[in-house]
């Protein structure tokens, strides 16, 4: 068995009187896509933000590559990246300029070559001089993903990467992510409200409800354990707070 690249132990986040994440423990293994799902307010995004150091946990431990995130964050995030459909690239810069900024931030080697490679891989080479604010949502998503790979990360946190995309672009994005995972052996933590997408993408899923893990395993195992036909039905059962 491989050592996990991310190990989370009893992670808790309390905002005033709200326990957003309640003693959550899990691991992510090399080359694995771990799906994090649950209704709105389940704690998915808060977990991702804590894993990348944007929100400080109330208690619990996060280890990435065997290093303590609290003490070694700078080293860790050099090999980690993040993309969210709710976070944008600088909208007054061109596609290429914004990638250049992030290539410098991560001290990417052979910057020009790397950027060109990503522009081509994400089929945005033809629009590299276009301003970010003039891109379509599909193009913006691809740019966000290109930025997320600028430092050749070993771990990628993706918060609803296909939200607001039409089915065609969403499908292309999923195909792209699967090929990235296969080619680069990246570990991915993935959140989405699209249950079909989660079934298709995830090697393993974690089902969260009110900040707690209520189910964990391969998608088929979780569906079976709830006695349902698919993840969509499991989600509806949990969201409507039937007996768990």
């Amino acid at each position: 068995m491989f050592e996990p690249v991310v190990r989370v132990k009893e992670l808790t986040k309390v905002f005033k009187s709200l326990k957003a994440v309640d003693s959550v423990s899990f691991s992510i293994f090399p080359g694995e896509i771990l799906g994090l799902l649950g209704p709105n307010g389940a704690g998915k995004t808060t977990i991702i933000h804590m894993l990348i150091g944007l929100t400080t946990p109330t208690s619990g431990d996060i280890q990435v590559f065997g290093l303590d995130l609290r003490k070694r964050r700078k080293e860790i995030v050099q090999d980690v990246n993040f993309s969210s459909s709710y976070v944008s690239m600088p909208n007054s810069l061109s596609v290429k300029e914004s990638l250049k900024v992030f290539a410098r931030l991560y001290k990417t080697k052979n910057r020009e070559k790397k950027i060109q490679e990503l522009l081509e891989a994400f089929e945005i080479a033809g629009i590299e001089d276009k301003l970010v604010r003039n891109l379509s949502s599909g193009q913006q998503t691809r740019l966000n993903l290109a930025k997320a790979l600028i430092n050749d990360p070993k771990v990628l946190f993706l918060d609803e990467p296909t939200a607001s995309l039409d089915p065609d672009i969403a499908d292309k994005t999923r195909t792209l992510l699967k090929s990235i995972k296969k080619d680069r052996n990246i570990s991915i933590l993935y959140t989405s409200h699209n249950m079909k997408e989660m079934e298709e993408m995830s090697d393993r899923i974690i089902f969260l409800h009110k900040g707690q893990i209520i189910a964990e395993g391969q998608p088929r195992e979780v569906i079976r354990s709830f006695g349902r036909a698919n993840l969509e039905e499991v989600f509806l059962k949990v969201a409507r707070e039937e007996e768990i």
């Binding site: 986040k13 905002f15 957003a20 995004t45 808060t46 933000h49 990348i52 150091g53 944007l54 929100t55 400080t56 700078k74 995030v77 050099q78 990246n81 993040f82 969210s84 709710y86 976070v87 944008s88 690239m89 600088p90 909208n91 007054s92 992030f102 931030l105 991560y106 930025k147």
Partner: protein, 263 residues
């Protein structure tokens, strides 16, 4: 034209003022500052109109120097807002970028902006009013440096407050610098101010710069003691601003506010 639609929009804006302290303060803030600054200028002119040597020189010099402070402040706070408006802040802080590195980068941005602005203003003042800013001589360099540092200090504090209080505090990016204008004695000497404001002005670095500038223009004497005061205060304040920013950044991460302002 229908009144109910006008009323609906009127209500939409009134709702904002009802629950937003910064917006409510803005209503009284600018008139109060205008009243203070122009009131003290009037007092100054009335008291010294008989023997005001080259007051045009004073005013234009003061205006250029004040603009340096204001641009230095805005160079930090407005550049930070650009990242907030672009929803790019989380991408930046998800990278190895540290808060201190972020602030230093904004300081550089502000430096470039204000060199450009100061050059344009100095050239225009020379062409239009035959005013030569370099008549301040060698003291110009430490004057300008002190104003830049004070602008940075205000910019860092503004940025920290916007991080903490969100969009409602954005108005500070333009307003906070002006708060110091009446006690910076930009267009009139500190002696014009009432006693309690004189005490406050004594602890404002810019007041020493502007007093020094008037001293150089009127007597040609290098204002060493004013520069020492200004530099000493600036050194303390900018250190305090950095510490405040760092402490506040940790609070913001603990409360989950960085994410809220970044999305």
């Amino acid at each position: 034209m229908r009144f109910h639609r006008i009323a609906a929009l009127f209500m939409r804006h009134m709702y904002l003022y009802r629950r937003s302290l910064p917006r409510l303060m803005e209503v009284v803030y600018w008139p109060l500052l205008d009243l203070l600054v122009w009131g003290f200028i009037t007092v100054y002119l009335a008291q010294y109109r008989q023997n005001l040597p080259g007051f045009v020189t004073f005013f234009i010099g003061a205006l250029i120097l004040w603009d340096i402070l204001f641009r230095s402040h805005q160079g930090i706070s407005v550049s930070f807002l650009e990242d907030v408006w672009a929803k790019n802040l989380l991408n930046l802080f998800a990278s190895p970028l540290s808060p201190a590195e972020y602030i230093f980068a904004l300081m550089l941005v502000s430096m470039v902006k204000l060199v450009t602005v100061a050059t344009i203003m100095a050239v225009l003042a020379w062409i239009i009013y035959s005013f030569n800013i370099f008549l301040l001589g060698v003291s110009l360099v430490p004057f300008v440096l002190n104003l830049i540092v004070m602008g940075w200090t205000i910019g860092i504090i503004t940025t920290a407050l916007i991080l903490r209080f969100g969009q409602e505090a954005e108005v500070l990016a333009w307003a906070l610098g002006f708060l110091f204008m009446p006690v910076s004695a930009v267009f009139y000497p500190v002696s014009v101010l009432p006693r309690f404001l004189q005490t406050i002005a004594h602890y404002v670095p810019a007041s020493h710069v502007f007093e020094g500038m008037r001293g150089v223009i009127s007597s040609g004497v290098f204002p060493l003691s004013q520069l020492m005061w200004s530099s000493g205060l600036n050194a303390i304040y900018i250190m305090a601003a950095f510490l405040f920013f760092r402490w506040n950044f940790n609070v913001v991460k603990r409360k989950g506010l960085l994410v809220r302002i970044g999305e």
